[in-house]
């Protein structure tokens, strides 16, 4: 170091005289300046990180919060028995023959009548002109109601129906009277009518529970699409991942860490596990396609296959974190157990594993969270692009029937042309993040609970 060379000869031991401690010497000043600079860097780094985080969250929330609101339109519909039950004997099988096409004109007529009755000035005469205001899903809703309550036939009932995605967009500011000029689906007059209906309370915005619990819809019915079925798909996938990766991962780590002899072979395995953790997830996807679908003939797009593929991906993460937490247990604990005649297995299961449990849990939940957000491998086994319009009926159907997953659903929506789907994609991301946050909180709580037992 520079200070030792300046004086030439090294001073004899004990001959060094220190100055007053009230005055900072040059070295101390330099050291303090270094420390202050380092603190400033650290603080700067944290601020940059926070700024990114806040920007991201603001963007997500501001773009996605709209998906949780939906525009509804209250229409009194005359349930004309002439049209809906031609035989007149209320026979369920006969009534079911009337498709949604039979209901659509009645709904549209109902809305037109409402407009007339309220004396709203609108340049529309035909019932078909109301098509632009009401979601195409409305007919199915009314039909379901009639089939469930055949007594309602011949009466006028009020229905709260979804407004079309253009009207919804108009109320949320996404669509304006100018922007619809060249829109074939809706005109500026329709939007003016929507304003008028809003004034009399027939059109209003409400909480959109269908978005959270509902199924996906076709491309032209953005207002109807929900992420609920995809949430179930993700849920079943996570069950598969947890059921396979936790026992396999923990068993493999315990074996490698505590029992396996340290030789070439185990070194090789160790290196390969680390490498696997860095393999791009799409590689696991194509492996899953080849092994689970083409070779084992498991069903395509099924959460079971998705879960198996994600298990492959999660295993290295779990193994690495489990081994790290096993390594962190002081060897003296193992010695203590062995020293009083516990077997290797007893020392591991009674003493080492409980101490490593918080770390294992955290690693597992992080692995699961990663798997929950993974999209690429699902591309190759057909979960991305599958339109999840049906709820699985029952447990085995949940595992084996085609379904989507949350990130796949978000990707699917982001891909669609209708700007209404853009909002849904952001909304889906909010839901995904809520799930991830919940998992992290669970991880923290479990960790605390385990650690409190020292």
């Amino acid at each position: 170091m520079s200070d030792a060379t300046s004086g030439g000869a090294v001073p004899a031991a004990g001959s060094r005289r220190h100055g007053s401690i009230l005055q900072l010497d040059a070295r101390t000043k330099k050291r303090n300046a270094k420390e202050a600079r380092f603190r400033a860097y650290g603080l700067g780094a944290i601020i940059i990180g926070l700024v990114f985080l806040v920007t991201l969250l603001t963007a997500i929330v501001s773009n996605g919060v709209g998906a949780f609101q939906q525009t509804f339109i209250e229409v009194p519909v005359y349930l004309d028995p002439q049209k809906l039950d031609k035989t007149g004997n209320r026979d369920a099988a006969e009534m079911a023959k009337v498709s949604t096409f039979g209901y659509t004109p009645l709904i549209q007529q109902g809305l037109l009548d409402l407009v007339d009755r309220e004396g709203i000035d609108a340049p529309f005469e035909k019932a078909g002109d109301m098509k632009a205001l009401i979601s195409a899903s409305a007919a199915a809703k009314v039909r379901d109601y009639v089939l469930a309550n055949p007594d309602a036939l011949g009466e006028t009932r009020g229905f709260e129906l979804l407004a079309s995605s253009r009207v919804d967009g108009y109320l949320k500011g996404r669509v304006t009277q100018e922007s619809v000029e060249r829109d074939r689906n809706i005109s500026a007059e329709h939007l003016q009518l929507a304003d008028a209906l809003r004034e009399i309370g027939a059109i209003r915005k409400g909480f959109n529970s269908e978005f959270i619990f509902g199924a996906d819809a076709s491309e032209s019915r953005a207002e109807q699409a929900g992420i609920g079925v995809a949430i179930l798909g993700s849920f079943f996938m996570m069950l598969v991942v947890l059921a396979f990766s936790l026992p396999i991962g923990v068993a493999a780590s315990i074996y490698l860490e505590e029992f396996a002899p340290k030789n070439r072979l185990t070194d090789l395995i160790e290196v390969n596990i680390s490498n696997l953790a860095a393999v791009p997830s799409i590689v696991f996807g194509i492996l899953g396609l080849a092994v689970f679908i083409e070779f084992a003939h498991l069903p395509q797009s099924a959460p079971l296959v998705g879960g198996l593929v994600l298990t492959l991906m999660t295993l290295p993460t779990i193994i690495i974190s489990t081994r790290a937490s096993l390594k962190a247990v002081p060897p003296s604990i193992r010695d203590a157990a062995l020293g009083i005649g516990a077997s290797k297995m007893q020392s591991v299961f009674h003493h080492v594993l409980p101490l490593a449990a918080p770390g294992i849990l955290t690693g597992t939940i992080i692995g699961l969270a990663q798997a929950l957000g993974e999209t690429a491998p699902l591309l190759l086994i057909g979960m991305v692009g599958y339109i999840a319009t049906n709820y699985p009926d029952g447990i085995s159907s949940g595992f084996l029937d085609p379904n989507s997953a949350m990130p796949a659903q978000i990707y699917e929506w982001a891909k669609r042309a209708d700007p209404a789907y853009y909002e849904r994609a952001w909304g889906g991301i909010i839901i995904l993040l809520v799930f991830l946050l919940t998992m992290n909180i669970i991880a923290i709580i479990l960790r605390r609970r385990f650690e409190r037992r020292w």
């Binding site: 002899p261 009083i340 516990a342």
Partner: protein, 265 residues
């Protein structure tokens, strides 16, 4: 504590409990123990003394095969316990360690309650038939570890919350609770104050009635106080082994003399 009182309580027998023949230990390329031959008697306290790094702990760990847990460690030669070779392939080291207990150089209580620390050994070896018996075993062990009075009111608080010296006595109690035939102690008093040390020494002397105790110590006075036999190690070799009073009064080897008079180590 008076030196003489302990030595006078002679129940010495000439039965050989452990006999080591041509023992060599290697850590990778390091030759840590070189051709050690020693016969340790039953119902006797044997002290291992010697300068730091001479291989006392290493040799002690050979006796209950704790060295098996170190990958790079290799042991050659024979160690017989009651005439049976403990390195025989048929021997399960787990069974051996229940018979040859150990107290380590650094206190290492389990991160569990004081009670569970002591009860663990009896539990896994099935020494207690019910809770009452287990309670009794735990109390007796803690009393023998000279720590009962300090912990009897907080048996269910963590063992890691004790002071260093208390932890070491807890570890002694834990080792005693499994009723071993041989007790290996690696510097058990290095973290203890003089009063606790005296209590542990008394315990060691008491254990001698039933067990064979091997103790590693850096304190010449302690070796003189508690042991009947002393072995002096130097640079991996056993330099001198004999009755404690003879080793301390008329050592044969000049290295032993230098060490006990404080010139090496």
């Amino acid at each position: 504590m008076n030196d003489m009182t302990l030595l006078e309580r002679g129940v010495q027998t000439d039965d050989i409990k452990i006999s080591a023949r041509n023992v060599e230990v290697f850590y990778g390329d390091t030759h840590a123990i070189k051709n050690v031959n020693v016969e340790i008697q039953d119902k006797t306290v044997t002290a291992f003394i010697g300068p730091s790094g001479c291989g006392k702990s290493t040799f002690l760990r050979c006796i209950n095969r704790m060295n098996d847990t170190i990958d790079i460690c290799r042991v050659k030669g024979d160690i017989l316990l009651d005439g049976e070779d403990i390195y025989d392939p048929k021997v399960d080291p787990v069974q051996l360690r229940a018979k040859v207990g150990m107290v380590f150089q650094k206190p290492n209580p389990f991160p569990k309650s004081i009670y569970d620390n002591v009860a663990y050994g009896p539990k896994i070896h099935g020494l207690a038939r019910n809770k009452a018996e287990l309670d009794e075993i735990v109390e007796r062990a803690l009393r023998r570890g000279a720590i009962w009075d300090e912990v009897k009111d907080r048996l269910h608080s963590p063992g890691t919350g004790l002071s260093g010296g208390q932890q070491q006595r807890l570890c002694i109690a834990r080792a005693v609770a499994t009723e071993p035939e041989v007790l290996l102690m690696d510097e058990p008093c290095s973290a203890l104050d003089p009063i606790a040390t005296a209590q542990v020494e008394e315990l060691i002397d008491e254990l001698r009635q039933d067990y064979s105790v091997v103790i590693v110590t850096h304190s010449m006075q302690q070796a003189a106080r508690v042991s009947q036999k002393t072995a002096f190690f130097h640079l991996g070799t056993l330099v001198e082994y004999g009755a404690t009073d003879r080793i301390f009064t008329s050592p044969e080897d000049p290295r032993t003399e230098s060490y006990i008079t404080g010139r090496i180590g």
